[in-house]
């Protein structure tokens, strides 16, 4: 497959093109305040199953959204058509909404102009990667599985985006972004093994390493034994940790906190988990997918959210930030969870030091059971094992869990340093593999 000129896409909306479009809106707008946001995405995914490509797609979608405010009345309209006539129509629709919408007591004018940090959010090798590169990676994963007489199912995807925000008070931010993702489920009969990666650079997906890891897990997952449900010591791989912590991070919103409908109500400034745990935002980290600007037109900055187990930040919108007197809104676009004094260098070390535990590769379908204490449920998936005396001794049938990360992470027995953690249902973070003394599995399934 070539990537000849005949099939090259129109280039993404550039900084000056976005400025031109925004100015086109500002000169026509009758609003007190006008905000224009750009989200122009070109993405492709090669999907495979049963050792062959089953879906191979490439999509370009540009979206321009216009928010107009008259006093505290505001409205938003958007379009995927960037012609002048369509943009004028979109502005008229936003103005029409804003004129007749009720006053919003929480409306705030756009943020003051800010010199956003320029981060390397778009790697050229990823932006240039097309269907041929994706197919090459898919074939590599499939090839390894075929050689082992196993079945591969997975995706290779790449995405390039132009993201921007501009307001008629002079606020202007623009950023080119790109990311690449790979995930693979290897089926060995009824047994499965999984691995995943996400990176700004398509060159860092480590297809071979990830594929061999998934193959090893699938082979090891054969002939699982059934253990009774109940509390067990556990070793969570980074993806399993990320699955639980993502829900914790999603529950940090300040408005719920203020209204008393948050699991953290009254706990700001208090210890909520083991005092060695740290949760930070690290948008400059080259292995994460941090951004320079947020959808609200604010910068993403390094920040600490949980400091030695103490909750130090809430997730604010601009209104609650003003209420709380918070000047710089913390973001969590590039989370890093770490354990101070973590003594183990890798997962194998953790296993060797463990006398008895359930090893969990990943969780699936995590949902809130009780938002008051953040009790969650979900299933183990694609590699659940029994560890005895420092070794994996058997695969086990998958468990459903029923527990709260706020309880489970009160005490950590051992941990590694932060590693890449990608889950099927959430984004990417850095998280350690962790040993916990007890985690509650409430039922067992049939495989």
């Amino acid at each position: 497959m070539s990537a000849g000129n005949a099939t090259r896409w129109p280039k993404m909306t550039g900084r000056e093109e976005f400025r031109f479009l925004a100015d086109l809106v500002f000169t026509r707008s009758s609003g007190d305040e006008t905000i224009v946001t750009l989200h122009d995405v070109h993405s492709g995914t090669t999907r495979f199953a049963n050792n062959q490509v089953v879906q191979n797609v490439d999509t370009r979608r540009g979206t321009l959204a216009i928010t107009v405010a008259f006093g505290r009345r505001h409205g938003t309209a958007s379009t995927t058509d960037f012609t002048a006539g369509s943009i004028h129509d979109t502005l008229a629709r936003a103005e029409r909404i804003a004129r007749i919408s009720p006053e919003d007591p929480e409306y705030l004018p756009p943020p003051e102009p800010f010199p956003f940090v320029a981060r390397e959010t778009a790697r050229p090798e990823t932006t240039a990667a097309g269907p041929a590169r994706r197919l090459e990676y898919a074939n590599e994963a499939i090839g390894h599985c075929r050689m082992e007489n196993l079945l591969a199912a997975g995706v290779v995807s790449t995405s390039a985006a132009s993201v921007g925000i501009a307001a008629n008070n002079g606020l202007f931010g623009y950023e080119a972004r790109a990311d690449a993702r790979f995930s693979l489920t290897v089926q060995a009969g009824d047994a499965t093994g999984w691995s995943a990666a996400a990176h700004r650079s398509v060159d860092h997906l480590k297809i071979q390493e990830r594929t061999l890891a998934a193959i090893a897990k699938a082979k090891r997952s054969r002939e699982p034994i059934e253990l009774p449900a109940g509390p067990y010591p556990v070793i969570f791989e980074p993806s399993a940790v990320a699955g639980l912590w993502t829900w914790l991070m999603w529950s940090l919103d300040a408005k719920s906190y203020d209204k008393g409908t948050s699991p953290f109500a009254g706990k700001l400034g208090t210890q909520i988990v083991d005092d060695r745990l740290m949760l930070c935002n690290a948008p400059n980290h080259t292995d994460l997918l941090g951004v320079g600007l947020t959808s609200e037109g604010l910068p993403s900055m390094p920040s600490t959210w949980i400091d030695h187990g103490v909750l130090t930040q809430l997730a604010h919108d601009r209104f609650t930030a003003q209420t709380h007197g918070v000047q710089d809104l913390p973001t969590l676009d590039a989370p890093v969870l770490s354990v101070n004094g973590a003594a183990c260098s890798n997962l194998q070390d953790l296993i060797k030091r463990t006398d008895y535990a359930i090893l969990v590769t990943n969780f699936w379908y995590i949902r809130t059971v009780n938002p008051i204490d953040l009790t969650l449920t979900g299933m183990t998936r694609d590699g659940t094992f029994l560890v005895k005396k420092g070794e994996i001794v058997s695969a086990i049938k998958n468990f459903r869990f029923h527990d709260s990360p706020l309880r489970a992470f009160q005490q950590i027995d051992a941990a590694t340093g932060p590693m890449e953690a990608v889950t099927a249902e959430t984004g990417k973070m850095l998280a350690p593999a962790i040993v916990l003394p007890e985690f509650n599995f409430s039922s067992v399934t049939r495989f």
Partner: protein, 485 residues
């Protein structure tokens, strides 16, 4: 110069596909408009009017697929995207082991229009925001209500489907929904209760008929009762489940496992596979004799009743489970022949122009029985009556599930008594459906729709409606939905 018509764009794309030697191709051009008004805590938090226009081209070349899509609808872009789809399909074909073969479908040339009485996009915005503000005020009139929300949603899709097989279907589809939620606080606890109109293909009459203000008073009272209610004691209970609650239970445990692409491994890396393997078709006892599940993509007003799917296959009605026996899958033109079926069930849908169609759950509904709701409850010595949606989770083969709900009442000696909180039940799908020993009659049948059913990579949101009458299940394991210590 006049801009080209959609048909001219379509012909431009199909001409290139035919010339390429591909065995099949289609184009979907779509113009979608969504209006979403969201109220939160007595204010209108946002009003959004979103337009999404674009087209997607699908090509089957030497037994392998390629798909490309763009939001730039122009004379230059359409052939470029069509050529890209061809090129991608050629790449897929170069590594294909088993070639895709589509089951035949008659040529359709048709126009599908959602009937409606009131166009939601012409209803004055003030009327809608007033309704939401009044609804939230009504919620707050109940003592103890700390938070409120209310929203209205409407969507119109103009779509043109044209294939190299000469099918041409034009769609003008409408859908809407409205809801409100009250959250009560009591002694450091909080609890929510919601009212949702179903998502249906109707006009604004759906909202007017629902009477949000009346429902707001009811759910606010329930929220304050729920937050003070005793937590459930874990144990085995008989359950009587209302149609809204059942819509989610059916969706997860009956709908997804009957998607044939999952069964065949297409979703193994994400949404999962299915315990309903092909050897079970026609012989597996999925449920008791009271359980008949029918897929009906022809029922008016339901979300999957779009006349034709995105394969250009006419919508149909068929059995999934008949008197407890598993007898049918949801299929498309690609997977149907893999189990020897000669026609697709017409369940291949994309969530927009930018997505490739995949097998989706049909409008699967539970056939009514002969009881009344009171009779179902009267037959329970110790049980729980559950309404609405709450927590939900199920394993990737759809065996082990766990559900909460929105409101729970203890049943004692055949009578519904007081509310409970923190009720969670779990089970294994076939065991649960085999414990069903009664379904209420047709007069109790209600329909609930889903527009956020996640599946596929990249992820897509599927739309479908599930109808049911209340049903009773015996000896289901119930646990308390809070931390285990």
């Amino acid at each position: 110069m006049n801009s080209p018509t959609w048909d001219e764009f379509a012909e431009l794309a199909l001409k290139g596909i035919r010339a390429s030697g591909a065995e099949y191709g289609d184009i979907r051009i779509q113009d979608s408009r969504t209006e979403h008004i969201e109220g939160e805590d007595r204010r209108i938090a946002s009003i959004r009017d979103l337009k999404d226009v674009g087209f997607g081209v699908r090509v089957l070349y030497h037994g392998a697929w390629g798909f490309a899509a763009s939001s730039v609808l122009s004379l230059e872009e359409v052939p470029r995207v069509a050529n890209l789809a061809i090129e991608i399909a050629r790449g897929s074909a170069s590594v294909a082991l088993e070639k895709v073969r589509l089951v035949p479908e008659p040529v359709h040339r048709d126009r599908v229009i959602t009937p409606y009485r009131i166009d939601p996009f012409t209803v004055p915005l003030e009327k809608k925001t007033d309704l939401l503000l009044n609804t939230m005020e009504t919620l707050h009139r109940q003592s103890g209500i700390a938070r409120s929300s209310a929203s209205l949603w409407a969507r119109r899709d103009h779509k043109l489907f044209v294939s190299t097989e000469e099918s041409r279907v034009e769609f003008d589809l409408l859908a809407g929904q409205g809801d409100c939620t009250a959250t009560a606080l009591h002694e450091g606890r909080f609890a929510s209760r919601s009212f949702n109109t179903p998502h249906l293909r109707k006009g604004y009459e759906l909202i007017e008929e629902a009477d949000l203000l009346r429902e707001a008073s009811r759910v606010a009272a329930h929220a304050t009762e729920k937050v003070k209610a005793p937590a459930v004691d874990a144990g085995q209970y008989d359950l009587v489940l209302d149609p809204e609650h059942l819509s989610l239970t059916m969706h997860e445990s009956c709908g997804h496992p009957t998607e044939l692409d999952r069964v065949l491994g297409y979703e193994a890396n994400y949404a999962g596979t299915s315990f309903l393997t092909t050897d079970k078709l026609g012989s597996f006892r999925f449920g008791s004799r009271h359980v008949t599940l029918v897929a009906d993509n022809t029922e008016p007003e339901t979300l999957a009743a779009t006349g034709y799917d995105d394969d250009g296959v006419a919508c149909q009605r068929w059995d999934i489970v008949r008197d407890g026996l598993f007898v049918g899958y949801c299929t498309n033109r690609e997977v149907a022949p893999k189990i020897g079926e000669v026609r697709s069930r017409g369940s291949n849908r994309a969530d927009g122009w930018g997505s490739v169609p995949i097998v989706r759950i049909a409008n699967i509904g539970l056939d009514p029985g002969t009881d009344t709701l009171d009779q179902l409850i009267a037959g329970v010595k110790r049980g729980i009556y559950i309404e609405g949606h709450g927590s939900y989770s199920i394993d990737q083969r759809r065996y082990n599930f766990q559900f909460g709900g929105d409101a729970f009442w203890l049943i004692e000696n055949g009578k519904r008594t007081h509310m409970l909180r923190d009720v969670i039940y779990h089970g294994i799908t076939p065991g649960f459906w085999n414990s069903c020993d009664g379904v209420a009659d047709r007069t109790f049948r209600r329909r609930y729709g889903f527009i956020t059913c996640g599946k596929g990579q990249p992820g897509q949101s599927g739309w479908m409606t599930h109808a049911a009458s209340p049903a009773r299940f015996r000896n289901v394991q119930v646990i308390r939905g809070e931390g285990h210590v």
